[in-house]
Structures are given as structure tokens and as C-alpha cells.
Amino acid sequence: MKLKYFSAPYLVWMIVFILVPLLMIAYFAFTNDDGGFTVKYISDVGQYANIFVRSIWLSLIATAICLVIAYPVAFILSRMEKHKQGTMLMIVMLPMWMNFLLRTYAWMTLLGNNGIINYILGLVGLGPYKLINTSAAVVLGMVYNYLPFMILPLYSVMEKIDKSMFEAADDLGCSSVQTLFRVIVPLSMPGITSGITMVFVPAISTFIISRMLGGGSNLLIGDLIEMQFLGNAYNPHLGAAISFVLMVIILVIMTVMNQFDPDEQVLM
């Protein structure tokens, strides 16, 4: 029972740095400069529907690609010998030791019109291709930066699946495809949902990736919010309203996601 008191600092932290800012966002979103109640800013968000759609779309693609890449990687990892697993995990984590901005900057150098990729393609007589400043580059940046967040939860779930499960499936006459869809996928569902959450949420609200790799013409919600605070017109109310709508959208998507989880756990 006494253990409860140890959580007190975290509780205070949560209230001051999570709950209060959230309430402030809600307050700003629903008030005007004089502090009066208004839904003007919330309805103004509607004109940016295409930016919302694009953000959701790009981050969905990125999440899907992450899942497709990470799933086999996590499975292979979890079936390796124990001592190899540690090394391989470290290799997965390695890029995360570097600063996020630096990694994205590196992609700018790789993808540039005179960048390394076009340079190498040029040596074999191809290109140059327009690689940077496209929405594909933005998706690439998202996948690259958030892939470990997909691999790790998948790995930690799959690691716990007992080898005898596969043997039992084999004995009972499952083909390998059946084993995958009737044994592995259902058992790794919690890892899939938390992986999707951990990739989708940061991907949808990113702004620096689209700024650096999208060339400023692939506006995402994050850029839009940033523009309200540091742009030409200082408009914290609209910025808060956009953030608020974004939170609601993420909340809805996460609720839908949780339907896939057999335990119906809340993953937020």
C-alpha cells in the first residue's frame, strides 16, 4: 500500500505538465482574444481539411510500411539465439542514439539533386531523379525515423511466444501460411496495436520531417500548427484549435485500433 506514495511525484508531474497544458489547449481553442467563448476557431479548422487528410494519409502509409518491414524483422529477431538477439536489437536501436534532426539532415544529403543517390545513379547512366521535396521523401523520413518504435513492441511480444506453439500447429497440420495467420498474428496482436500507435501518433504530428524532406510544399498538420505561432499571423487560438481537432482525431483512430486488441486494453 505504501508503494502508492512513490507515485506521487509522477502524479504531480502529470498534472502540471500533461493535464494543465491539455486544458490550456482546450481553453485557447474555445476562446477568443477577449476570453469569451467561441467555436469560430474550431470551425475555421475545416478549411484545412485537405492538410488533415494528407497528414493522415501519409502517416497511414508510413505506418503500413513500418508494419510490413518490422513484422518479419521482429519475428526473425525473436527466433534468434539469445546472445545474438542482444546484438541485433542494439543494431536496431543504434540510429536512435543519434539526434533526430541530424538523421533527417543526412537524408537531405542523400536525396538531394546532387546527392549521393543521384550521384551513384549517374555513374551507371541513370537519373538524376527528383527524390527530395516529394511526399514520398516525407514518408521515407517517417518510416526511417519511426521504424524502431514498430520493431521493439513487436519483438517484445513475439519473444514471449513459446516455440511449442509452432510445433503444435505443425503437428495439427497447419501449413506455414495458416500458422502465420492463425497462430502468430493473433498472438502478436498487442504488439501490432502498440506498434501502430507508437508510429502513427508521432508521424501524424511531425513537422520537421516535412519541412526538411518535403521542401515546404508538403504541408502537414504539424507545419500548420507551427505557422500559427511562428508564422506571419500570430494566432494561438487557431493553433490550439487545430491541435485540439488533431487530438480528437487521434483519439478516435486509437479507439478504433483498440478494437483489434483481444484484451481490449487501453493503449493510450
Partner: protein
Amino acid sequence: MNLIKNIFSVSVTAVLGVSMLTACTASDESGTDEDEEISRQTLTIADTDYYTRFKDAGISINVYNWGEYISTGADEGTLDVNSEFEKLTGIKVNYTTFATNEELYAKLKGGAASYDVIIPSDYMISKMIRENMVQPLNFGNIPNFEYIMENFRCQDYDPQNAYSVPYTWGTVGIIYDSTMIDIAPEDIDWDLLWNQDYADQILMFDNPRDAFAISEIMLGYSINTEDKDELEQAAYKLKNQKKIVQGYVMDEIFDKMGAGDALIAPYYAGDALTIMDENEDLNFVVPKSGTNLFIDAMCIPVSARQKEAAEMYINFMCEPDIAYSNIDYICYSTPHQAAYEMLDEDVRNSTVSYPNQDFIRDKTTVFVNLSDEANLLMQNLWTEMKSAEDESSNRWIVPVFLIFCVIIMIFVLVRRHIRNKKDIF
């Protein structure tokens, strides 16, 4: 080799996270003699009594300036302006930097930080004056104001010149790769940024005010227009440009032009000189049809705690040797008469840094702050322009997204249904 060099420069820049500003070539040759002279002169400032008033008071001031916008003594033999000030006056300088006027504004407006000296640009100064965010200066404490050239006083943004002391100025022009673009420099004008032949090789400002200004100059409108039609036409012109623009960037212009990733970009004269130092193929032209002249000036916010010490700092920045040292380091143009006279002759005659007086008078305009409505309209037009997608991709994103949502919903409902059925048995 060149490629490797470029990659190296890009990554170093990334590591430092700052633009690599080095002194201009023109002034590099001035050598150490002159620099020693500067140090000596600084120590014999005429009115030292003025500066030593607060010697033992233990005062500190917060200075908020643009990044790489002061001489830091990083280059051998140059002055470290802030530490010289501390040495002379005993006032501690807490020096921090910002990247955009809007960042400065948001910081001050938020009220979280108190600054004693800030250095915003023209239009931001008029906005701050209007919103009572800066206070009138006591020019009795800033005798060195006399060095400021007559034509840089009493500008539109501060008509009585009561709030600000000009620090630097410059023009916006076009930087381009002269080996790839076969147009005589005197024929280059803003329409180069709209030239189809260089599609995907053009960079554009990622900042509505600067981008609209270029468009407005081409249309023959004032860069301070608040007229709805004119702004919409300017936005339309920018929208036309979008398909040939490689990217909308600000500081990245530095890396991308330096590395040869793009051929054409609009840029500020001072920074352009610095890149040209690194990449000799580049050339800079101030378009003949006119341009924006910007002035960055020192102000004191209303929330300043040490007004007199702040005025002392401003005065110190206007000491001829200090002003010279700063301008020599940052390569922008100076409104300071004495510092201008100390510059090398080829710098003074440079048409990039110091275009002739007639051109400045007739063809350049200084930004003033726009009304809130005009700012908002510009911001909205800009967002609309930037978020407008090519027709082809726009057509299928929404339907696919909707179908995706519907499939998920059906899936969820069916699953629920099956599960409920199972529970019955």
C-alpha cells in the same frame, strides 16, 4: 571531390546547427594590423566615464539578437564585442539568439522572458510600436546615434525615430549559379524565378512576407499593399510558380546553393556574400525592377529591467570600432557613417552591399507592418497556395481515405457481432 566537399560542408553545418558565417573575402585581406588597431582604439574610447557608471553595480542585461549577427572574436584578430562590453562596463551580457522576427515576437508576447535589448527588423518594429511592446529611447544616453546616416533615420517603421537605432541593412536579391545560367547579370530580374527552363532548380522563400514581396514587385504593386485583390493576384502568381519550385526554404538556401543542389534562389545580400565565398560559381544580383530593403534596428522592450544599461549597450554597438568590427564579420551593410568609412574600398564600392543612392531611393522599399486583416489574409493565401496539391494526386486521396475508414468500421462492427454471438454459446 566537389561532391565530397559539399557533403562535408552540409554535415558540418548540420552538426553545428548554425550557418557557417565567415568573414567576407574582401575584408579578409585587411590583415591583422588593422585588427590590432581596432583593439587599441576600443580601449581608448573617448568617453570612458560614460561606460563605467555601473562598474560595480553587478548589473546584467539580456540581449536577444539574430543568430550569427555580432562579431564574436571567433576569427583570429577580430573583436569579441560582448566581452569587450563586459570588460569596459562591468555589466554582464546574457546573449541569446533567434531565427525569425516571429519567434522574437512570440517570445515577447508570451511574456515568459525579459529582454533588455532586441534587434528586430523594420516591419516587426512598427508592429511592436503599435502594440506598445517597445519603449521610446532616451537618446541623451545614446550620443553615438550621431553616426547613423541621415537616410537611415526616421524610416516609415519608426517615423519619429524614437524607438530604434539602426544596426544593419541590406537588400534582397537573386543568387544563382553563373556557370549554368547563361544570362548577363544586368539582364537578370525577378522573372528568373519563374523561368520554366530552370524547373526544379529554383528555391523560394518559405516565408509569406518575403515571397509575396517578390510577387508584388513583379506585378508592380507596393510590397506593403493591403489591398485584397492585389494580394490575391500576388498569391496567384506564387501558385503558378509552385510547380517549378524545388522547395520552400529559408536557412537551407545556404546549404543547398552552396552544395549546388539548386541553381537559383532569392536571398539576403549579406548571407549571399558569405555563400559566394564558399562556392565561386555563384553570383548575386539585386534585380533592377526593385527590391525590399530591410533594416534591423536595436530596440528596448517595455519589459526591460535595465533600461539605462540597455541604452549603454546600444551606444556601445554604435562605437565606430565596434560597428566596424560587427559589419566586417557579418557582411551585411552598415548605416553607420564612421564604420562605412573604415571599410575597404572594394567593399564600399560593391554594388551588392552598397547599391547607389538613386537605386535605393527609387527602387527599394522598406517593409512596414500590415494590418491584422492583411496579415491574416496573406497567411491564409499562403497556406492555401502551399497546401494546394497537383490535381492528379488530390483526386484519389479523399475517396481512398473514406473507403479505408468505412472498411475499418465494417470490420470492427462484424468482429463485435461475431464476438457477441460467441458469448451466447
